[in-house]
Structures are given as C-alpha cells and as structure tokens.
Symmetry: C5
Subunit: 365 residues, 5 copies
C-alpha cells in the first residue's frame, strides 16, 4: 500500500517525535495550548445563612475548606501550572489518575465514582466575540462539603450561577454540594443550547447564501466543511456527557440527595434534546453539501446553455456567409441584384427559427 502513496502525501513529512516517550501513567502533565503562568483560585464558601467570596493568597488557605459545615466551591483557572494541581490533589486525596485527567485537555467527558467523591470531566463550549467556537476542558470533583472545578482559562459560563449564590436566588443556598454540582452542569448544558442555536443560525445563513450567491459563483464548500467540523466537534463534547448525566441520574451514591434527582432527570432531558438537535443539524449540513453540488451543476448548465445558443446560432450563419465568400468563377447567386438582401433575409429566418427552438426547449426564457 505504501507504494501507492502519491506525490502529494509524500510532501507530508512532519512526523512528530514520539511525545509519549517518557510517559508514566498517573503523571500530571498539561497537554493543552492555553498556557498560564499562575493558576488563579476563587473560593465561594456558603451556608444557608452566610457567604464568603474571596481569592486566597496562598494555595494552603484553600485546604481549610475540607470537612466543614459550609459548602465550598473552589475554582481553579489555569492548568499549565501542574504543581498547584498536585498540591491541591494531595490535600483532597485525589487519585493520581484523576490529577492526570484534570490537566489532560484531550480527556473526553466522563464520570468516575470514588468512595469519597465524584469526578466529572466535561467540555465548556461557547462562541467568542468573533463567532469562533471556544472549546474548554473542565473537571469537577464533588465531595461531601466541597466542589472543586478546574478550568483551562479565564472566562466561563458560571456568572449567572455565582450571582444566584451571592444573592440567594433559587435553591442553591439551601442545598448541599450535590445541588451545586447540578447547577454547574446545568449552566454548562444550558449554554450548549446557545451554542447550537448559533450553529443553527449559521446553517440557515449559509443556506440563504447558497441560493443568493449561487448566481455569483461564490464557492461555499469551505464554509460547509467548516460547519460540518463544528457539528462534529460539538457532538464530541455532548454525546459522552449525555452518558455521564444518564449515569448520574441512575447512581444511588449517598452524595446525591434524592430531591436533586428530579433536577438531574430534567438535565438529562435537556442534553438528550441537544443531542437530537445536533443529529438534525448534522443531517442538514450534509444536505447543504448536496444543495451546493446541485447548484454547481445548475450553474454549469447555465454556462453551457449560453455557449450552445451562441454557437448554434452563429456557426451556421457564418457558414452561410462563408459560402458566398468563396471565389468560384461561377456562383450564380452572386450576380443577382438583391442576392445579398435575400441572403440576409434567409439568415434572419434561420435566426428566428433557432430562437423559437431554444425557447421551446425553455433554454431562453
């Protein structure tokens, strides 16, 4: 097979040196591209009556939040400084494999149940201001009285949730860490709706452009390919999370209060809905490609029609003119006084017949 590799692929030579050469399972090694010198820590510590929001000066001051009566949400932004993760992981008793997954930005969404905590990985999706999709790896550890979230970079979709905790709106303040976990996942899933709505708008936009730009001959295949990839990327984030939430609904772990199950079931409804929509949009983008192909062929028909009409009309006429451009000594028609005008008349008749023929064929409207 190797010998079939063509000239073009042979130009491809940038083989990455085996990156994994010294890899040890359980090693904490950041694989993403969003380097950040320092991890930033935010802590929201609340009970029904009190709330404390602050950025701890040292990592160690975050350690006190384990084993308290209050619920603590410790959020870490920035994964490239793996030392912080390891220290925190050490204190909260996180298994080395979990620490590895937290910084492994390629890790797909999943849930692992441990004795003392739940570990959930998911992807946060949003469109930035340039309508480009941002794909961010987030991990969450849910313990009895704390929730740890690890994000790759600044900026997230939790502002509304923070607002609700601060101002004591909704059920959050009255509930435990399990409801906080639900609220975080809910914010993420809710944002997926925004993402697929934007995607849907983009598809509609390209569809409109297909019909509009068709006449201009703009090639939209790059855009359609772009949409396809975006759909595939979103599906890659959503479809494993769907399984996670399904398992979360069915698990009977002590951490999760039975009352919270209703909310998780609702969340599961939402993610199924999203994942059905994605399948729909996927099918639609494929339909766009078909449409585009049809458009190109239609355009070719248009071009061929013009050529055929022009050539079919003028080539025979030119032939007629050629006949009487010959230099034979004896061409009787040439001597007729009105021969020229008769011929022009004949040519006009041929022209009219041709046009009638093409109209009947609906090639000329």
């Amino acid at each position: 097979m190797a010998n079939k590799q063509s000239r073009v692929l042979q130009r491809f030579k940038k083989i990455p040196k085996r990156k994994t050469s010294n890899y040890v399972p359980g090693t904490v090694r950041y694989k993403g591209k969003k380097e950040k010198a320092e991890s930033v820590i935010d802590i929201i510590d609340y009970s029904k009556s009190d709330i404390k929001i602050y950025k701890p000066e040292s990592l160690e001051s975050a350690f006190q939040h384990k084993g308290t009566e209050t619920v603590s949400w410790i959020n870490i932004d920035g994964l490239s400084n793996t030392e912080t993760i390891e220290k925190l992981g050490g204190h909260f008793g996180l298994h080395p494999l979990i620490q590895e997954d937290i910084v492994d930005t390629a890790q797909r969404p999943k849930m692992d149940e441990y004795d003392e905590y739940l570990f959930i990985v998911f992807k946060m999706l949003y469109y930035n201001d340039n309508a480009e999709m941002v794909y961010e790896h987030v991990s969450m550890v849910v313990g009895q009285d704390y929730v740890l979230t690890f994000q790759e970079a600044d900026g997230d979709v939790f502002d509304s949730l923070r607002d609700r905790i601060t101002n004591d709106k909704g059920r959050v303040r009255n509930s435990g860490s399990d409801y906080l976990m639900f609220a975080i996942l809910d914010a993420v899933v809710d944002n997926y709706f925004t993402v697929i709505e934007t995607l849907s708008d983009k598809i509609e936009f390209i569809e409109d452009q297909l019909f509009e730009l068709n006449s201009e001959g703009v090639d939209l295949s790059k855009d359609i390919l772009h949409l396809k990839k975006e759909v595939l990327k979103i599906r890659k984030a959503v479809s494993p999370l769907r399984e996670v939430i399904n398992r979360l609904e069915k698990t009977d772990i002590d951490l999760i209060d039975p009352k919270t199950h209703n909310y998780i079931r609702d969340l599961y409804d939402h993610i199924i809905q999203i994942s059905e929509n994605i399948d729909l949009y996927r099918e639609m983008t494929w339909g766009l490609m078909d449409m585009h192909m049809t458009n190109i062929s239609n355009r070719m028909n248009e071009i061929m029609k013009v050529l055929t009409i022009m050539a079919s009309i003028f080539i025979p006429l030119t032939f007629l003119a050629g006949i009487y451009g010959m230099n034979f000594e004896y061409i009787p028609e040439l001597k007729f006084k009105y021969g020229y005008f008769v011929l022009l008349g004949i040519m006009f008749v041929v022209l009219v017949i041709m046009i009638w023929y093409f109209r009947r064929k609906h090639w000329i409207k």
Copy 2:
C-alpha cells in the same frame, strides 16, 4: 481551524447575546413566538350523567375542579402569560420543573411520573390553510379527576373529541381521566396521519414535477430541501412521543385503568406505523435529490448534444467554404464551370454522413 473560516462565514456576526445569563432552573419563562396577552381557559366537567362546559371568569374558579367526583378537562390556550401558569401550577401542586417545561416550547416530548399525576409533553402538528406546517407545543397533566392541557395558541385538533364528550359518543363519558388522556393523545396521533399523508402527497407532487418540469429546467432543489426539513421536523415530534407512549403502555401506575391499556397499545401501534412511514418518506426525499441530480446531468447531456451536433456539422463545412475563399492565384477548382455546385454536393454528402452518424449514436432521434 478558525483561520479556515471563509470570507462568507465571516459575514455572519449576529451572535446572540447569552440569553441564558440569568436563568434559574425551575423558572417559568415563555420561550416561544406565539405571544398572547391573556390565557384563555376552557373547562369541560363531566360525569356519566352530567356535563358542564364553560369559560370561567376568573382563574380561581378553575381551582374547584380538583378533588371532585367528576372528570374535569381544563384547557389553557396561550403560554406567554406565565403568571396564570404559575398560579394554576401552585394550586394543582405542580413541581416547578413542570411549570418550566409547560412554557418551554423547545421541550421535546416526554413523560414524567409523579406521585399524584402524570406529566406529558407532546407536539401538535397540522397544516394550515396555506399548506404550511404548524408545530405547536402542548403539555398535559393527568390527575385522578382532572386533565390539564396547555396549548400555545388557539386552534387545535380536539374538536371531534369535544363533540364526542358533549354528545356522549364513544367510551369517554363512561371512563375516567385516564381514558380522556388516551383520547387526547389519540386525537393528536390521528392527526399525524393526516400530516404524513399530506407530506406523502407533497412528495408525489414534487416527484411528478421533477419529470414534468425537467425539460423546463426549473430548479426544484429548494423544494426538495424544504421537504427534507419537514420530514426531519415531523420525526423530531414523533420519535420521542413514540417512546412516551411505549412507557405509558408499560407503566403500572394506579392512575391508568387496565382496560385503558388495550387502547394505549393500539395507540402505540399507530405511532410505530407513523414513525415507519416517516423513515420511508425520509428515504424517498433523499431519492428525490438523487433523481434531481440525475435530471440536471441529463439536461446537460441534452445541451451538449445540441452544441456538438451543430458544431460538428457546420465547423467542417465552414472550413470547406474557407478553402475556396482563399485568394491563391492558382486554385484549379475555382475555374471549373460547375465547381461551386460540385462543392455544394460534397457539403450535402458530408451533412448526410454526419446526420447518419449522430442518428446511429442515438443523439438525434
């Protein structure tokens, strides 16, 4: 990937501001487009012997129908006035998540079992007078002695059912709220048949047009895309309802009388039938696209044939004429008395050979 985004997609900038910013799970917020200032309430309250049909003046007068001997069907048209929903929900003890789903028009069909009632979401589909498909979100709460239905707008498919209740036809008056629930779902599913029959008619229509309009060169791809989307939309309504009815058939909740199960099984048969038909029509619309593509290519062949025949006949003849239009001093043929007529004869022979050749190739019929 971002840098691959083409010129066209870059024009797309209408990023919706995050609508979900202040969203709290369990919030009752109408997301549909069918605004209606006031919700209209209709009540049908019936027992085997009596029936009362009226529009209550105040919402509160609807509250008395809970906990009675009679069966009450309370129908609310209009979801944009969420206050009504919340009040009613409060009285009938509806979980906040249910209230949220009632007004969330994007909610997919589903069933939730609660201790005191069943909650079912489905979509009502019908073609309006312009042959456009109407897609309406309907929710239903089925309690021991009442059925609440929530519709987005006026107009529904239940007129025949109301008539049967009023005139005591069929089993409705003799049965409880569970049979009313069945009858409502049955009316909806029965209407799906009408919808897919219309769809089937449309597909047949476009198929006929494909063959008819082919010669006229009308581009039907827009119509086929339209049909595809309609099929996908119907499937989106039907396929989760199928699961709902399946679960309804299997549930052993007290609310549903065993006798009603036979009817629900029948209903399940119907919806499977619909969903198989949809798959069929889906495959057929894809087939239409193939047909259309084939048609375009055939048309191009037609066009090319005309061009090739015209060019192949007249270009050589023009060349012959060109030969004797040359001004060489010594071209012996030019001096022959009947040279001109001999050449005309030769041209005629060439023409005949060409036509014979194209007939043999079946390019001329």
Copy 3:
C-alpha cells in the same frame, strides 16, 4: 422556513380536509380503495375424517362453527361492507379495536394476544398479470376451533392450501387450528419468495438495460426509482411480520401445540431469509442509481470528445484558410504557383498530427 417554500411547492394546494374529524377509536370504518358491495364468505369445515366446503347463504349460518369439534376456516372477501364484519365480530366476541383493525387497510402487520384468540394482521403480496405488485391487507383471528380470515378482495395465495385440505395432503387435516394458522402464514411467506424473485429479475433486467441502453441515451432513472419504491414497499410488509412470527415462535399460549412450534421456527427462518434478501436488493437498487449516474457522465464524456475532436481539428484549419482569404495587397505566398497545394499539404499534416494526438489520448479508438 415557510418563506423559503419555492414557487413550485406553492402550487401544491390540495390539502385534504381533515378526514379524521369525527373519528372515534374502535369505530369500524373501511379505509381502502377496493370497494366491494357484498362480502363473500367461504367456509371449510374439516376434521380428520370429514370435510365440508360451502358458501353459506346467510352470515348467521357461519355462527354455528364456534365451539365445535371440527376446525373451521371462515374466509371473508371484501371489507367495505363493514356491517358484516361487525356482526361476525359480535358473535365471535372480537374486541372493537380488532374490528377496527380488520377494515383499516393501513394497519401494519402485528399480533395481539387475547384470552380466547390470537389476532394477526399481515400483508399479502403478489404480482398481477401486468407485473404490477398487488398489496392486500389480510387479518386473521385464530380461536380454539376456528380460523377467521378477512381479505380485501377476491384472489389470494391459498389455493394450494385449500387443495391440500380437500385432498388430505400434508399434516393439515390431522392438526388443529394452530397448524391451519401456520399453513396460512406459510403460504403468504412462501409467496413473498416469488415476489422477491420477480423483484430480483427486474433488478437484473434493469441492470442489463443500463448497459444496453446506455448508448441509446434512454433515461432509466424513473425505472430505478420505481424499483426503489417497490423494495421499500415490500420491506414495509415483511419487516413487521418478521417480528410477529418471532413473537409467535416464543409465545407459550395454549392455543399453539408444541409440535407446531417446529414449523413456526422454520417459518421464522424463511422470513429472516426474505428480509435479508430485501436488504440486499435495496443495496443493489442504490448501486443501480450510482451506475446510472456513472453512465450519464460517461455519455457526456463521449459527447464532449466528439465535440472536442471536431472543433480541435477544424478550427485551426479554418484559421489557416482564413489567413489566405485575406485581401492584403502583398501576401507573397498567394503568388506561388503551388502555394495552394502546399497549404493543402500542411493542412493534411496538421490533421494527421491531431488524429495521432487524440489516438494517443485514447479518445479515438
């Protein structure tokens, strides 16, 4: 989306008035197209030793066959006279939903188990004398000592079975109603083989025609679409019946003798075989469409080659002739005695080079 509906679909306005307006579940209403004033009843009543074949004068005389020692096969042809169905149904204690399904020709194949009988719906397929597929709705009720079959129209695939009963061939006469049920289903499934063989012959026929008619430019897409639809239609009949027979094999209802199970298992083998063949033929018809598309493109290549060869040869030659048709006062070549013949020679050389070039490119064989 509505505004995207194109000019063509807007012509489609034949919206059927809601047919289902006054529909009550359990209503016996014929939906098919094969109207028949009177239902014709045939009765075959047999035991191991005796047999009685007759057409009863009145419907009531058929009633006596319930609760006897003999096995009775009561066959009704014609479903449009729903009164007959209702009377018979009343006597044999058929549930209203069954009566509805008997006359509902759109009902998909299914099996319902009731306490005293089995109810089976299936489709009878055969090709009529014009090689058109006939699709007929048949229902069967199997009781302890009787089998009722309801057909839409005259003509069926049971003649051989009737012959076997009459002449005491095979196991039928020695067995009960369960074996009769098997024998009826077996005759139907056996006929499916004939149908798919004909279908397979048709596919082979079109495939041959594809290669044969290719040169003639006959458009076979209509035929391929027709085949596709036929495959889909057969699949629609077969695939739910497969489930029915699977359930029939597994059911442990008293009605069915354990010895009959071996036969039903064999029947199940047959229908799986048919349904695998259908999938095969489905894939093959798709392949035909591909072939057809390839053919069209090949034909276009043929056409373009002719055009390109003719134009590429004669356009340059015409140009050469045009050069020496110019009226410049001083064109030295024109004065050469044999200029004309030299030019003819050059033209011939150009012609030969062109032909050599096209032969090397394999455009001329």
Copy 4:
C-alpha cells in the same frame, strides 16, 4: 404508482408462474441448478485404532453406521435425487423439515438443535479455475456417532481433512463426532479466508487499473458493480454462519465435549475476523465507485481543457483573419506593404499571451 412505471420496465414481462402452487411444508424438493442423476455416497468410518474408507454399493449399507462405537462420516454428493435423501433421512430419523432444508439450496445458514442430533446448514465458497466464485449449499447432521454431510455437487474443501483422518494427523482420530463437526466447519471457514484474500486481490487489482486505465477511458463501473455483488454474496454466506458458530459455542448440549469448546471459540474468532474484513472490503468497493466517478469527472475536465484551449486560441485569430478578408473598398491596412506580416506578428503575440494565460492557470503543463 403503477402508472409511473416507465416504458423500459413495461418490456419486462417474464413473470414466473407461481412455482409454489403445490408446495406442502416438509416436502423434499430440490431447488438448485446443479442437477446430478445419482447421489454419490462416501463413507469414512474410524476409531482411534481403525479406519475404513469406502463407497457403499447400496444406500442401505450406509444404514449400519448408526449406533456403533466408531465415528462415521457419511458424505452425500448430489441433492437432485431427493429419494436418496428421504430414505437416508427416514433411517436416521431426520425431521421432514430438515429433509426439506437439505435440498433447499436457498436456505440460509442456520443451526437447529434436536434431541438426538444437531442440524447445521452452511455455504461452501471457493473460486474455480476461471476466478469465478462458486457458491455451494451444504448441510450437516451431527449425531452421537455419525456426521452426515450433504453437498450439491462434486468437489469440496475437505481433502486436507480427509487426509488428516486417514493419516492420523491432528486430533481428529482421537475425538468424537463433535470434533469432526468442528473440523468440517473449520475447513469451510478456513477457505473463506482464501476467498476474501482473492477478493482483496481483485479489489487491489481494480484499484490499480482505475489509475492505469483512467487515461484510456476504459469504463470500470461494470467491474466495480461485479465486485460489490460478490462482497454482498459472501456476506450473505458468512454473517448468518457467524451467528450459528456463536450459538454453537454457547450451547451446552451433551453432544459437544467441553474440550471441543476451546476449538469452537477459536473458530468463532476466525469467522468474526472474516466478517470484519468483509465490512472493510465492502466499504472499499464503495470507495472505488467514488474514485471511478472522480476519474470520469477528471477526464471530462481534461477533454474540456483541450477544447477550451484550442477554441480560445483559434477563434479570436480566425476573427482577425476574417476582418482582413472583408471586401470593403476602403480598408487602409490592406494597402500597407507589410500589413500582412504585421498582422501575422500580432497573431503571434495573441497566441503567446493565450499560452501564457493557460499556463498560469495550470491548464497547460
């Protein structure tokens, strides 16, 4: 729909007369095409110490091999003489349905468990000397001390197995009829590997030809269609046998010694491997069709380029020549002494510009 049937399909009139008219379930009726006047019987009777290989003169002498201490492999070649099958079946107590399946060459691979024997149907595939695939129906009955195999025609894939039995190689002689059954199935499955290797070679061959013959314009679609059909045919043989072997592995019937289960599990591995390869080859043949289509389009591009280049160069030049072929009384350029040569120069410049333009567009290399 019937009225849509086109002109071509209407020519199709060879409706087979219902072949199944007098069919009784359990009838032994040969349906294949490999007629053979006499069935040939081969018997290999062996124990650990002794072996007897012979062709019995009469069928009856084969009867003695039931109920002995030795293992007997009775092989019957030729199924068209159904009487032999019936006699043998009678002696060995084979159910009428089994006898029917033995001669029904359309029967798909399957396994039926009976009290005293196992019945297995499979397909033997091999390429004959003309590289055409042979598809042969084989049935096997495995009893406590005998194995019956029924083949359609002479020639099989068991020579190596016979050799091993004769020369006491491998485990066969030391084991019972269950291991013989395994060895027979193993020989069949092992030969599937040879078949799919040949298929794979054919695919590679066509793929190479695609690139090679592309320039010659040979149409390979017929060959690709042929390959597709072959893949489908092999899959039809393999995929039900896979189920059979899976069930064989899991069955806990007494007939099969636990030690043999290891071997059957290994066999199951092999057939899964084959069936995965088939899926792979299926996808590859579809890829070939795509390649072929791309090739055709590329060729058309080639043709169009030649036409466009020739026409674009010579049509404008001919126009220039035409200008100076006009007979206006006053065309000053015609009087210039070197007008002719100047024009030739201009024409040359136009030619060079054209060629430069087409080179920049990469149409000329």
Copy 5:
C-alpha cells in the same frame, strides 16, 4: 452473474493455490512477511528490590523464570522461527491454539482466559521515518509471575516502560505481573494517540492542499483513498482491542489485583477516546472526497466559462466579418467610404455589451 464479468476483471487470473490445503487446527505456522532467522529473547526479571536484565544464551535458560517470587518479562522478537515458540509454549503450558495465534499475524486482537494465564493479542501501530504506518502483530501471555510478549520484528514502543522498570519510576516495580500487563497495554494505547494525531495532521494537510492545489488541477483522490484505507486499518486494530480492554476491566480473575482495575478503567477511557476520534476522522476523510468532487466540478465550471466567454464574443464577431467577406456584386455597405470603420465600431459595441453581460452574470470578475 459470471457472464457479466467484464473484460478488465477477466485479466485478473492470479488465483492463489489453496494455501490452506494441509492446515491442521492448532498448527504453529507463521503467516506474516517479516521473516527473521533467529528469534531474539530479552528478559527483565525484577522484584521490588532487585532487577536483572539480560539476553539468555539458550532458550532453556528462560524456562527457570516460571514459578519464582520475582516478576519476569520475557520478550521474543521474531515469529518466523516457530520452533522457539513451540518449545517455549510447551514449557509454559500454552494451549496449541494459543501457539497458533501467536504466529498468525492475521489474528485480530482478542483475549482468552485460561486457568493459569491470560492470553491477549493486539496490534502495535506506529509511523516509521517515511511517515508510513507500521502494523505489527503482538501477543502477550500473562501468568502469575511472568509476562511473555511475542513481537514480529525488532523495534517497539516499550522503551519508556523499560526505562521506568530499570530506574524504578512509577508503580511498576512495586506491583505484580498484572500491572506489567497494564503498563504494556498502556504503552501501546498511548502510542495509538500519536498515530491518530499524525493521521489528523495528514487529513489537515490534505485539506489545505485541496484548497491550494485546486487551481493547479492536481488530482488528490489517490491521497484521499490512501487516508481512507489508513483510517480503516487503524480502526481494525483499535475496535477489537476496545472490547478486550472492556472485558479486562470487568473480569474478576484472580490474576488481576483490584488496585489495578482503576488503571484498566482509565485505559478503557483512553481507548474509547481513540475509537471516537477514529470515527471522527473517518467521517472527515469522506468529507474530503466530497470536497474534492466539488473542487473538480468548480474547476470544470471555470474551464467552461473561459470557453463560453471566448466563443460567445468571437463567433458573432467572426460572423459579422464573414458577412462583408462575401462576394455578392451588390453589397451597398462595401462602397461606403467609412463602412469599414463603422463596422469596427459596431463590433466594439457588441464586444462591450458581451463583457457587460458576462460581468452581470459574475462570470468575469
């Protein structure tokens, strides 16, 4: 069907002689292509405190590692010398079928559980220095105190693992043979990531080339086909291994310490991730083919536009010139003093109109 086989396939005659003729199940026969005269044996024997790494001089010295306190990893490079395998297999009590699978390079990944050991087959994939994919068959036998690995050729992906054992990094030295098994599988799976990253880079590369080379008319279909095959090949290695690891996670065999299960679960996550990525890349390569097809059609449109524009402009102009090249005695325009210039002016106007027309159609930018 045979008669349909076309001219091209008939050239295909290289039918392999039945290779399997003398095959006995359980025979140790090397089927790969990487012949190697001598098998090379490497032994790493370690406990928590000690480690011994050496190449034994004779095979027999490897035998002592069974039944010791230390963990021994015996690695054999080279499978063509089947005698070594058989001797080793004899000593370690490997079932003949296992010995057969070790040297059968076509064997798909699988796991067999035996009483005293686990047998696992998998494929090692890596890109060599020419960016060609290497596909190597590896088998592993995991006993209580030893791990045997059998590789086809020199070179593997275990260097990092060996390094970790030697330098006592990670958990390996503190754990038993089960963790060593995990570590080996982990190294293999980890390398799959490198492989699919390279694949992904290749896809991106071809995608970029598609847009870049489009104008040059380079045919990339060979490269896309190559990518498709590579994706299929990787999937063939990964997807059965996924099942193996899934079963490994769930098995409760004594050999595997419960602590190791966490690691295997993590490994399972990784392989699911890989297999989802492969599906993604598969869909992307199909998208590339679509893109390529669209590109070809676009290019044809480009070509046709040039032809149409040139022909549509110059053919009518040539006709005009032809008119006044006629030799009629009486053509009044020819006598007009400025007739020639007037005509040139008319031609210029025609040219301008044409160009305006084509610009409006966006055929000229």
